[in-house]
């Protein structure tokens, strides 16, 4: 049995292919999201990697912001349920998930069996999301992938008080013109993202075993800032960008099994 989970976000497309609901046989992420070539490219890549054809896949579940645009999917499931499922499978015992993607930030609390207790997401604003970090990296002329490295060089993190992306951009420009060191500004930016995400986490309740996922979890600076804000160790999920797609593939496997053994 082969099941596919495909997670179409605002800025990236992810896919995970599972065999028998147990073994990951292909997984990929393309940094182009809904409305772009990303969804078809990630599908093409994963099929190539696995050597399978689309008609050999028993069930496909689409998730993420662009989930309704995946015409061949058998079903659409929200990213909240998919991330919860993916993380609970990878890291059983997780109590709180912090997921920061391109334009969404969310916190999900889970019970001991991995069931969702509560979740909160960001409001209609991109503050504290991947998009916020994108804008800041451009202003600082620093690759997004290098932000984490700079973060750990900081001894005196600057204060970035604005949560609005536009105002924060002006604030960062002002800090640069004052000659504040880049690493201190970057650490300040990460603290600002962490503060925003942790507001959601505090509302769901910060339980034992905090796990971070989503594209932003690849930035160790943000993970460090969240850990400091919560005063707790934060575990980064393996392949954090792919946990939603993994959860979708796992749910798809369960659906096939239920169909076979009703």
């Amino acid at each position: 049995m082969y099941t596919l989970g495909i997670d179409i976000g605002s800025s990236s497309s992810k896919a995970v292919l599972l065999k028998d609901g147990k073994e990951i046989i292909a997984e990929d992420a393309i940094q182009a999201g809904t409305g772009s070539s990303g969804p078809s490219r990630v599908l093409q890549q994963i099929m190539q990697e696995s050597g399978l054809k689309l008609n050999e896949i028993d069930y496909t579940i689409a998730t993420g912001y662009g989930r309704f645009s995946v015409a061949f999917a058998n079903e659409q499931i929200s990213e909240i349920t998919c991330h919860a499922k993916g993380i609970a499978w990878l890291l059983p015992g997780t109590g709180t998930i912090i997921d920061i993607g391109g334009q969404d930030a969310k916190s999900i609390s889970l019970d001991v069996n991995g069931n969702i207790l509560k979740f909160f997401m960001n409001d209609k604003c991109a503050a504290g999301t991947g998009r916020f970090l994108d804008v800041m990296s451009r202003v600082l002329e620093t690759e997004l992938s290098e932000m984490g490295e700079w973060h750990f060089k900081s001894n005196h993190p600057a204060k970035v008080s604005s949560t609005c992306t536009v105002f924060a951009e002006s604030e960062v420009i002002s800090l640069l013109s004052q000659g504040i060191a880049k690493e201190d500004i970057i650490a300040g930016i990460h603290a600002s993202v962490a503060a925003k995400a942790c507001t959601l986490a505090y509302r769901t309740g910060v339980r034992e075993n905090v796990v971070m996922c989503g594209g932003v979890a690849q930035n160790p600076g943000v993970v460090d800032a969240i850990s400091k804000e919560l005063g707790k160790k934060v575990i980064v999920a393996p392949n954090p960008q792919l946990t939603g797609a993994l959860g979708a593939a796992l749910i798809a496997a369960k659906k096939v099994k239920e169909k076979e053994n009703p």
Binding site: Y65, I77, S78, I80, I116, K118, F119, D123, K124
Partner: protein, 416 residues
């Protein structure tokens, strides 16, 4: 017009148009027109034969026709900040256009092209702070801009329950002051006989409204809760006239037939998968989308405290009981009482979850959502979800965010 041959939906449309037409005719005939807050008591003005217009309902109508942007822009040009209630901004923008027309004799394009019902400028306004305090400054502003009288029914917030006697006495005095103001404005004594009849009519309308709402307690529910948002126009604008009673009674007949046939709001009984309580004002700019977002998941709205604002039950002839009805609005009471009322609605409607509309326009309703949600979840162990939106400003709502949140809620309800 043979009302018996009309469906309740036809009656709703017919009477809504009739109310607007009556207001326009009253203005032409030189009679008084009053703009009123939605839960201010209309009984006094109706007893004095004053035509009533309800800006909140009018603003909701403009928003539902996806035509709010133009008037919101007019309000912004006058300096009204986007943080102010969008009902107020739509109405103040619309008033500005009507005023420009009255002063220049030329109809501004935005007014000529408006999809909202054409309403006449008021000769007086009446407001009541039993649902929020923005209504005070909004209506004072209307009165100042138009140089017309403003009747304020000041209703103290109920920090403790039951409602203290001094509050009841104070509100009765407010009613008496309103009567005195009306006598002065109309130049004739208050018509107490008609007032009593209007109170009786209001009670028949409210009873019929409550009967409609009670149909949602059936499982499956023959009533789609979003229909309460649609029919609400009449309990707001015509509760002191027979129009609402006629329409609601017809609606009850239709719902009873559906119930007897074992049908749900979505057709067959098994089309109803889950039930939710909706807390907060409707997202008028996206009413269809918010409804379909739930319907597509087989989720029917069976509970809402919002339509319950007009459960204004009192004894005609007894001003104190009328005072209690108008101050006992759940959002005019302390957090424990407000939460208990909402929890009762969730329980009585047999809801499996709750959707909280965090309405950017209505701070009073939104501010205490978190506390209410936490308490109800602890007591009833039901999942809930909160989404950002707005009653009349389309800029504050994101369809994708709403769809994701209600889908996740549906998945949580199914997992329970």
């Amino acid at each position: 017009m043979n009302y018996d041959e009309m469906t309740s939906k036809e009656l709703l449309g017919y009477f809504q148009n009739k109310l607007d037409e009556e207001a326009r005719e009253a203005k032409k005939a030189g009679k008084l027109v009053c703009w009123s807050a939605s839960v201010a008591p209309p009984e006094f003005c109706v007893a004095m034969d004053i035509a009533m217009v309800y800006p909140e309902t009018h603003a909701a109508g403009i928003a539902a026709r996806k035509d709010a942007d133009g008037v919101l822009e007019t309000a912004a040009l006058k300096g009204y900040n986007a943080d102010i209630c969008s009902y107020a901004r739509v109405n103040l923008g619309y008033m500005e256009l009507l005023k420009q027309e009255a002063m220049t004799g030329e109809t501004p394009d935005k007014l000529a092209n408006s999809k909202g019902a054409r309403i006449p400028l008021p000769d007086l306004v009446i407001t009541c702070n039993n649902i929020c305090n923005t209504l005070l400054k909004w209506y004072e502003n209307l009165a100042k801009e138009l140089n017309i009288p403003c009747i304020v029914i000041d209703v103290p917030f109920n920090h403790t329950m039951p409602i203290p006697q001094h509050s009841k006495d104070y509100i009765v005095d407010q009613f008496k002051e309103a009567i005195a103001q009306l006598e002065e404005i109309c130049g004739r004594p208050f018509d107490y006989d008609k007032f009593f009849k209007v109170q009786e009519q209001t009670q028949r309308s409210v009873a019929a409204w409550n009967r409609v709402a009670a149909y949602a307690q059936n499982k499956p529910s023959p009533l789609n809760g979003f229909d309460l948002f649609n029919y609400m126009g009449l309990i707001v604008c015509a509760r002191s006239l027979p129009y609402s009673e006629i329409t609601f009674n017809k609606f009850c007949d239709e719902l009873e037939a559906k119930k007897q046939a074992g049908k749900s709001a979505f057709g067959d009984a098994d089309a109803e998968k889950k039930r939710i309580t909706w807390e907060g004002i409707a997202v008028w700019t996206n009413l269809g989308l918010t409804f379909k977002g739930l319907k597509n998941l087989g989720v029917v709205m069976t509970g809402s405290a919002y339509p319950d604002l007009w459960n204004l039950t009192y004894t005609p002839g007894d001003l104190e009981s009328m005072a209690v009805a108008y101050t006992n609005i759940y959002i005019n009471t302390c957090l424990p009482n407000r939460t208990a009322r909402l929890q009762n609605i969730v329980s009585n409607s047999k809801s499996d979850g709750i959707v909280f509309h965090l309405n950017r326009s209505c701070k009073l309703m939104g501010l205490l959502n978190n506390e209410s949600a936490e308490t109800i979840q602890a007591n009833l162990h039901l999942p809930y979800v909160s989404f950002d939106g707005d009653q009349a400003d389309p800029k504050n709502f994101s369809a994708a965010q709403y769809e994701t949140r209600v889908q996740a809620l549906s998945e949580m309800m199914n997992a329970q």
